[in-house]
């Protein structure tokens, strides 16, 4: 699965980081390769990930429509060509897992993907079985990451996931939430469970995670996956008619989408953001945002204030 790219990139990253003195930084950022997106290491495992991934909620639920399946495969092709790795899906997302499987098969891209899926069932005994069915749809042997979706029956599933990680049936495990929901419970789980990832909503207008979850993730060495970076498109749609401020050029952002992603990625606790898209140009644009320079504190505040005010 993702071993090859992560190792190659890790070596490259170590070389680059050492050369540039980046290892001295509290949170090291580096490009994995000259033209690829920025990557970040996951503290708990030997994994380095490109900081922009690909979500599949709604966008990849295309049923059996051949034209739309091929369109999603095109998006995936552009994603992998641009150096992307993490694709996130769930049994809850209709036919999205099947679409990812179709794309991976068509593109022969099983080695390139960092496969992130979820357990989503109230039935405590069904976790393992559901993950097997999901892996079949993805057409992969095992997942790189399995998350408890929206904390559904999380206690029971956490036992299953820990056992699966110990067996090598999955590489890393985590939990997800969104829309700023149940942050107290998420915090408790992050505190008490040996998880590798937490997935949550974070963007210039949804900043609750900054209070406790993001600092805690840093402290505990838990990777953070950011969902709903564009509020499911509502943010980019709202901003579409507004001119991009000149100062966006200071961080090389050429669109609101890139400015938002750069805001997200500039938080040191964030491992990657997973915008979803149906468009090849958007996936390229999103990956291109995973690049230096990223905004400093002052610019972060300016981005958030500007977007909130519009």
């Amino acid at each position: 699965m993702a071993d090859q790219w992560s190792l190659q990139r890790r070596r490259l990253l170590q070389g680059l980081a050492a050369g540039a003195g980046l290892s001295a930084l509290p949170f090291s950022l580096a490009r994995a390769q000259d033209s690829g997106p920025l990557t970040r290491p996951l503290p708990t495992a030997d994994i380095t990930l490109p900081t922009v991934g690909l979500g599949t909620w709604i966008t990849f639920n295309v049923g059996n429509n051949q034209r739309l399946l091929d369109n999603c495969a095109d998006v995936m092709a552009a994603f992998f060509e641009g150096g992307g790795a993490m694709i996130d899906s769930s049994p809850m997302y209709g036919s999205s897992q099947n679409t990812v499987g179709y794309g991976l098969d068509k593109l022969n891209a099983r080695e390139q993907v960092f496969s992130a899926d979820k357990i989503w069932t109230r039935d405590a005994d069904q976790g393992r079985q559901q993950s097997r069915e999901s892996a079949e749809l993805w057409q992969v042997d095992r997942f790189d990451l399995l998350q408890v979706h929206n904390l559904v029956s999380w206690r029971a599933h956490m036992d299953t996931l820990r056992a699966m990680r110990d067996d090598g049936a999955v590489r890393t495990i985590g939990i997800t939430t969104s829309h700023g929901r149940r942050h107290r419970e998420v915090e408790r789980i992050m505190d008490s469970e040996p998880i590798d990832f937490v997935q949550l909503t974070y963007n210039p207008v949804d900043r609750e995670a900054e209070d406790r979850l993001l600092p805690l993730a840093r402290e505990k060495g838990i990777g953070v996956i950011v969902n709903r970076p564009f509020r499911r498109g509502a943010l980019t749609e709202r901003l579409a008619s507004e001119p991009l401020p000149d100062w966006a050029g200071e961080v090389g952002a050429e669109s609101w989408a890139q400015l938002i992603l750069k805001f997200i990625l500039s938080h040191p606790a964030v491992t990657c953001a997973i915008p979803a898209t149906t468009r090849v140009d958007h996936v390229r644009e999103n990956l291109a945002a995973a690049s230096q320079p990223l905004p400093d504190q002052a610019l972060r505040a300016r981005i958030a204030d500007t977007i909130r005010a519009l």
Binding site: I58, N65, G94, N98, H179, R181
Partner: protein, 225 residues
């Protein structure tokens, strides 16, 4: 409550308008030329009901029953289910509804009494479901090829079924026939609103009107209305 308020109607949908209307277009192509025959079949059902003969009523009921089986199999089971797992909960109820309507078609006797408002509302719903609902494509970004007609899709079929039931059934039979198409009209309407299709409002209003048709708002009159 706060958590619930943080949802937008479209957050409850698993799929986009682009995908849903592509599915509708594909289904219309697969069953061509049923899509263009549907308004004609609608006119026929209106005529059957307006004639008030018991054979016509039975035929209208039987066609609604058979169509629920056909639509459940050809659209919901074969296609829609792939993008919306929640429909699994509805499928058994729709199969039972089809059976119920077929049994009623075989067993109901001639109308001996009816309530005028119920009959008029029923007839209006049949016209709405068969002839007006498909024009919803004019209100959003859809092309005509994505028009949903009562011979192929559950939303207009639910409205038509409500109308057929109100004009042809009474008493416990009517009470048994209404809940499923009513529920479908409400969830279908909400789904269309989630897809940003204004025809969803019409479905919700139609469901409300069907309930008004069911209530005993006018005196029952002997003979046909």
């Amino acid at each position: 409550m706060d958590a619930l308020l943080s949802y937008h109607p479209r957050d409850f949908l698993l799929f986009s308008p682009r995908v849903y209307w592509a599915l509708v277009t594909g289904n219309n192509e697969s069953w061509w030329p049923l899509a263009i025959l549907a308004p004609l079949a609608g006119v026929l059902v209106v005529w059957l009901i307006a004639r008030r003969g018991s054979q016509g009523r039975r035929l209208a009921l039987a066609s609604a029953g058979a169509l629920w089986w056909f639509v459940t199999w050809s659209f919901l089971w074969q296609q829609y289910r792939a993008i919306n797992w929640a429909v699994d909960w509805a499928i058994p109820a729709l199969v039972i509804l089809g059976a119920l309507l077929l049994v009623f078609a075989m067993t109901t006797g001639p109308v001996t009494a009816c309530r005028p408002h119920r009959y008029r509302i029923g007839l209006m719903l049949v016209i709405w479901g068969t002839l007006i609902h498909p024009l919803g494509f004019l209100l959003d970004d859809r092309r005509m090829q994505a028009a949903d007609t009562w011979l192929l899709f559950p939303d207009p079929l639910a409205l038509t079924t409500l109308g057929i039931a109100l004009t042809t059934l009474a008493g416990w039979r009517l009470a048994l026939a209404l809940p499923v198409p009513l529920l479908w009209s409400m969830t279908g309407g909400a789904t269309l609103l989630g897809l940003e299709s204004p025809i969803g409002w019409a479905m919700l209003i139609a469901a409300g009107i069907a309930v008004a048709g069911w209530l005993p708002l006018t005196q029952s009159q002997r003979g046909t209305c």
